[in-house]
Amino acid sequence: MLSAALVSNFALVQFLGLCPFMGISNRLDTALPMALATAFVLVTSSVAAFALHVQLLTPLGLEYLRLPAFIVAIAAAVQFTEAFVRGVSPLLHRLLGVYLPLIASNCAVLGVALIATDSAANLAEVVALALGAAAGFALALACFAALRERMDEAVAPAAMRGAPLALVTVGIMALAFQGLRGVGA
């Protein structure tokens, strides 16, 4: 679980799911709910995917349908999250905009679901893996958003403002995570 959170952090070590990572990290107060939403989708969809795999696909011999089935499960989790966010805070739903449904195409989510069904033996392991990945993603997103608030882009060279500087920052964050290489091996 710790390994999923830090050592092989999806955003910063495996560079998965960078789209919301770059897109929604301008402000901490939108990044935090986004991190939570992604974490929620990660956990529910991988559990659902695991359940589908074990209870439905394998008994019926339909393993080859794994990808479409998982994608359906993920889409459902995302839709549910979207409905929930819209119901609880329409304003937040507005602020997150297109990034909320885009969680569905966040490859980190499908990645965790696939890794979970491939490597995990039981439900507890799946939950641990998903929780770890979710916590890692959420922590990285929160830290990154706070960092971006601290950066004063007005003084950076004009060509670097916005996405370029954000990418440099992600790069240095990834460098820090490189330090954990070998840990847990």
């Binding site: 608030e149 601290r150 240095i172 460098l175 820090a176 330090g179 954990l180 290489r181 840990v183």
Partner: protein
């Protein structure tokens, strides 16, 4: 006191460590220092000149401090290439791309150092032309020997690594002076050393073959004191609220230990400080009252 005065005092506080390193590891330490500082200042001056900024931005004294830290953290036998690479990354990428002094969010010296470490892993492990390995390596890769047995290795001194313990003691001296002058905030080194010590104590069972080294060993091995007193104390990239400052120090100390004990790198200080940096703003937000 001016900002330049601050940098000057940091430089003065580094003198004991630099002198000790020269005495223990040879004159190449001095050569590295001179090359790094000269290159860093030249790069900064060139950047400022090309961007038509006031030359004051290149003479605030922060670049020499950054480059001196890189030179002291790097092995004395380091080739010119990796050293210049580290300096260039530190001054240009980590500092000036973000808008110069006070605007960077990562400690430039450690960005440069870590980047060079990842780009040139081999020469950074090569601290001593004689033994080829540091005490930290010897502690980690000792093939099941107990701590006492491993201590027979040339790499070890009285409490830390041979030479390293003297450099660390000198850095501690300069660092304490820096804290007494109020240039450095004492919470950072206190947090780093307490957390590193606590982690080491948890993993230390008196010296069996599985033991990871005593707190004293970890305090006086590698670049501990340099990181605790000179790098973690860089206020630009550290939190401002007292509670967050403690957490910052504790985080850095813990990551240093994790990398030293379980990681693949010669030492963990650079990565640990970068971890602290990337968490610093979030820690500040966490510790502010709502």
């Amino acid at each position: 006191m001016t900002s330049r005065g601050v940098m000057l005092r940091v430089g003065v506080a580094l003198v004991p460590a630099a002198a000790a390193a020269t005495w223990c590891f040879g004159a190449s330490v001095l050569a590295n220092l001179a090359i790094a500082i000269a290159a860093g200042m030249a790069l900064e001056a060139a950047w400022v000149w090309l961007r038509h900024r006031s030359l004051a931005a290149a003479t605030d004294g922060s670049a020499p401090v950054t480059c001196a830290l890189i030179a002291l953290a790097a092995p004395p036998s380091l080739a010119l290439g990796p050293l210049l690479f580290a300096v260039a990354v530190a001054v240009l990428l980590a500092k000036h791309l973000y808008g110069g002094l006070g605007r960077n969010v990562f400690n430039p010296a450690m960005v440069g150092y870590a980047a060079a470490l990842v780009a040139y892993p081999t020469p950074f492990g090569d601290w001593d032309a004689l033994t080829g390995a540091t005490a930290l390596d010897a502690m980690r890769f000792r093939d099941g020997a107990t701590v006492a047995e491993a201590w027979g290795n040339d790499a070890f001194g009285a409490i830390g690594g041979r030479g390293f313990e003297i450099v660390n003691a000198a850095a501690l001296l300069g660092g304490v002076w820096l804290c007494a002058m109020r240039v450095a905030n004492w919470r950072f080194p206190a947090g780093v050393l307490a957390s590193l010590g606590a982690c080491a104590a948890l993993g230390y069972d008196g010296g069996s073959s599985g033991s990871l080294g005593s707190p004293l060993f970890h305090w006086f091995a590698g670049g501990t004191m340099l990181a605790a007193f000179f790098i973690a104390t860089d206020p630009v990239t550290a939190p401002a609220t007292p509670a967050a400052q403690w957490l910052f120090g504790v985080l850095i100390g813990a990551v240093i230990f994790v990398i030293r004990a379980f990681g693949a790198w010669p030492d963990g200080i650079a990565f640990a400080v970068l971890f602290g940096n990337l968490a610093a703003p979030a820690l500040d937000r966490l510790c502010l009252p709502r």
